[in-house]
């Protein structure tokens, strides 16, 4: 059965880029208001229920997880106390975590690993900054401080190793180049907070933003004054957007309306799939890079679902 029950409320789910059957889930106790956190490493078995490979407890909630693109056994957790914990799955649990990187002064909300320069990653935090790190260094390489409010999400460009975008509660998306001292582009994307941003894997100039205003907008950075497309359909704030690694025009989103939606922004009627399996806020969603069509989602109902696009998540 493609469902796993976590003891705490789910916040983030990510497939491993190395193993098709492995995924990481970040959870936080008491809805992330106040309490511990736990990072689960789950294994999918074709004919058996989802099993847990390992789990790690943290003193504060885990808001986001990310797999290393360079080391198959490394996984990172963004913790609500502002730290980033690095875990090595090849070591026994008592030797973990192997790193705790604590520089943010507020909650760390998201981590994104660079797929094209695979030792570097970004952390976004409620202290209005984005920090650039590499695996080998105990301190951050750079801090990007321009946003006027919490940075909720940042995402590396899938083709340009120096370019990334950040989404913030100041209602703007900024495009940065790590070689430049400041942001290179400011997109005032929505009238309300922007919670998530992701690049199109097949067109490096296109990105999607999900906002509190319930809409998802598709932008082309070459003409960023007007969105290419506005995707409406969610009933509440859009918490996360993610472009498909396999189809250039497909993206998936999850929302506080408890649903996970699949969109094709090139098509007239963009909503191509809707999954209502969660009974609380759907907060995390991911699509597997290795298995086409495989997706996972988690939410405050403490459940993790893994299913193939087009099938019912609750079916066997």
């Amino acid at each position: 059965m493609p469902v796993f029950k976590t003891p705490f409320n789910g916040y983030s789910v990510k497939f491993s880029p190395f193993y098709e059957h492995r995924l990481a889930v970040g959870t936080a106790q008491n809805f992330g208001i106040l309490g511990n956190g736990r990072l689960h490493i789950l294994d999918l078995n074709p004919s058996q229920p989802i099993s847990q490979f390992a789990s790690f407890d943290t003193s504060d909630g885990v808001y986001d997880v990310a797999w290393s693109e360079s080391h198959d056994s490394l996984v990172l957790a963004a913790v609500a106390d502002g730290s980033i914990k690095l875990y090595d799955l090849s070591l026994p649990p008592t030797s973990n975590p192997i790193r705790s990187l604590h520089e943010h002064t507020r909650e760390t909300h998201s981590i994104d690993y660079n797929p094209t320069r695979p030792d570097s990653f970004l952390s976004s935090s409620w202290d209005d900054t984005v920090k650039l790190w590499t695996i080998d260094r105990p301190t951050s390489v750079r801090t990007f401080k321009e946003h006027a409010y919490c940075v909720y999400s940042s995402s590396w460009n899938p083709r340009h190793a120096d370019v990334f975008a950040s989404a913030s509660g100041d209602c703007t998306v900024r495009v940065w180049d790590v070689r430049e001292p400041g942001s290179t582009m400011i997109i005032p994307g929505h009238e309300f907070e922007i919670l998530s941003v992701d690049w199109n894997k097949y067109d490096d100039c296109i990105l999607a933003t999900g906002s509190v205003d319930k809409s998802i907008k598709i932008w082309d950075v070459r003409n960023y004054r007007v969105p290419m497309s506005v995707l409406n359909g969610h009933g509440y704030a859009v918490r996360k957007v993610k472009f498909s690694p396999h189809r250039g025009s497909l993206l998936v989103s999850c929302s506080y309306d408890m649903s996970v939606c699949m969109w094709d922004y090139m098509v007239e009627d963009a909503l191509v799939g809707r999954y209502d399996h969660h009974t609380e806020f759907a907060v995390g969603v991911d699509m597997s890079v290795l298995v086409e069509g495989l997706m996972a989602s988690t939410g405050w109902d403490e459940l993790v679902y893994v299913w193939q696009h087009g099938t019912d998540p609750r079916a066997q």
Partner: protein
């Protein structure tokens, strides 16, 4: 703009190493002239009308009282580019209290005029500071609203005091007057009784005087009664006013209750919910930040932003926990967890698997190997058209990958273990230029075999420069090798997995 070696305004943290970035940036600027300008950079010219609007905005006295960050953020949300915002800030000088009035000061009048000017400007400053950041009309009407309320309060107070004095007068003073009058009259009678024979005229006079006094007192009493009546009338009017005020207060209370309920539902805390703020104007985050101070519990955190449709319904237990935390209680299920690394110097493990190619990269590989070499200027063409055909072919990519690793070894041996940061296979675009020395340590770690697993001591500036020049030379050399066609293209596959940090143990396992 392609690059800026000395940008005018800078909000990001300046690492000390960024000072050293200048020579390196000049080095790579030459190389960069070859590449097309980045699309991730805003290349629009400055729009004069937007700048003028921004200047008008920034010159507004209320705006001048607000923090610079909020002004910038407002302009950004209006769609101004960085250059336009910087230009507007340049045109509007930052005023000081003495300069803003701009009067020519003469020595004799200098101090007095300054004092006079300072007080009104200082009066303006605090007044403008109170409605922080909200440059909307809601702020001004709130001020007027306050004034009206204050006036009402003053009237109410006056009425109360008038009624109070009337009551006091009625209850205390009038009876005293009456008793005094009675006393006088009774004394008169006694006097009369005692002195009827001796001095009747005197007594009469005294009686007359007393009577007139009594009459005067009666007049006073009557006057006071009239006053009382009028006071009563005022009192009634006042009571009507009070009732109206009471009605308004009730309405306000119900409104605030409703708001509190909404806030409570949507969590004053959780950035998770983005609940309502007390006024509808932007910037929403101003309320979030100014109203809540950091504390250990999450409730303090980010957005109390406005939500367009209304708050999403929260789980009941969520509300319970929120209420508990707001009362200061700690949920009982929290454990004390020590999540610190037991060995902070634990070495990073060696990867046992090569990074697998991404579906979008593999598609490009197959296309670029099938087609002729595209010109370098086409580096940013859309790949959608190319990839829509072969996306189902990606399942074959795994087979291709196995061959990759073997030929990768040959390739990397040929290039003497040097690594490139980006995949050089796509000869249709030019690999990005090496980053400036701001990341030299990272670059060094990436590109060169590490002598020790961890470098805890930082390199000196000289070493940075030396390394960066080494690296740029090496990168250019490698770029040339890849551009010249190299070994790999002949095999029909040209995917080279991404670089990594090379560890001592795995020198033979190299990914170029």
């Amino acid at each position: 703009m392609a690059t800026q070696s000395a940008p005018p305004s800078n909000f990001s943290d300046q690492n000390p190493v960024s000072e050293v970035a200048k020579p390196a940036s000049e080095v790579h600027q030459d190389a960069k002239d070859i590449s097309p300008p980045s699309v991730f950079v805003n290349s629009e010219p400055i729009r004069e009308d937007q700048v003028q609007n921004a200047v008008k905005f920034l010159s507004h006295p209320k705006v001048k009282g607000s923090p610079v960050m909020y002004r910038r953020s407002f302009l950004e949300r209006k769609g101004l580019t960085k250059e336009e915002i910087d230009e507007a800030f340049r045109r509007v000088p930052d005023p000081t209290p003495t300069v803003s009035t701009g009067q020519p000061a003469e020595d004799g009048q200098l101090n007095s005029s300054k004092m006079q000017q300072q007080s009104p400007t200082q009066a303006i400053q605090p007044a403008s500071n109170t409605p922080i950041g909200t440059v909307s009309k809601g702020g001004t009407s709130a001020l007027y609203h306050l004034g009206w309320q204050q006036a009402l309060l003053a009237v109410g107070l006056l009425a109360i005091s008038g009624a109070g004095t009337a009551l006091v007068f009625k209850k205390a003073i009038v009876p005293r007057l009456k008793s005094w009058i009675r006393k006088v009259v009774s004394e008169e009678d006694e006097d009369l009784a005692n002195k009827t024979n001796s001095k009747p005229s005197l007594a009469e006079e005294a009686a007359a005087a007393a009577k007139s006094a009594a009459a005067a007192a009666a007049d006073v009493a009557r006057a006071s009664q009239d006053m009382l009546i009028s006071k009563n009338g005022e009192k009634q009017y006042f009571e009507e006013l009070m009732s109206l005020l009471g009605v308004q207060v009730q309405e306000m209370k119900s409104m605030s209750n409703a708001i509190r309920n909404l806030e409570g539902k949507t969590s004053i805390s959780g950035q998770e919910d983005h609940g309502f703020s007390l006024n509808n104007s932007k910037p929403p985050y101003a309320n979030g930040k100014s109203d809540f101070t950091p504390s250990s519990a999450r409730p303090v955190s980010p957005p109390a932003s406005v939500e367009p449709s209304g708050a999403p319904p929260h789980p009941k237990s969520y509300m319970e926990i929120m209420a508990m935390v707001q009362r200061g209680e700690r949920p009982s299920n929290i454990r004390d967890v020590n999540d610190l690394p037991p060995n902070p110097n634990q070495p990073v493990p060696t990867p046992s698997l090569a990074p697998r190619p991404k579906p979008w990269e593999v598609g490009q590989v197959q296309n670029s190997s099938n087609q002729a070499l595209q010109s370098q200027d086409n580096g940013f063409t859309q790949m959608n058209g190319n990839n829509s055909a072969p996306w189902w072919q990606q399942k074959q990519s795994n087979n291709v990958r196995i061959n990759d690793i073997e030929s990768v070894d040959e390739y990397s041996a040929g290039s003497s273990g040097a690594q490139t940061i980006d995949r050089p296979i796509q000869r249709s675009w030019v690999p990005p230029q090496p980053p400036p020395v701001a990341m030299a340590e990272a670059a060094a770690a990436i590109r060169q075999p590490k002598k020790s697993t961890f470098q805890s001591e930082p390199l000196t500036d000289d070493q940075f420069l030396a390394r960066s020049s080494e690296l740029t030379n090496e990168l250019q050399r490698v770029t040339k090798i890849s551009e010249s066609g190299g070994i790999t293209e002949a095999n029909g596959e040209s995917y080279v997995p991404n670089t990594e940090i090379q560890t001592e143990e795995s020198n033979s396992y190299v990914e170029a």
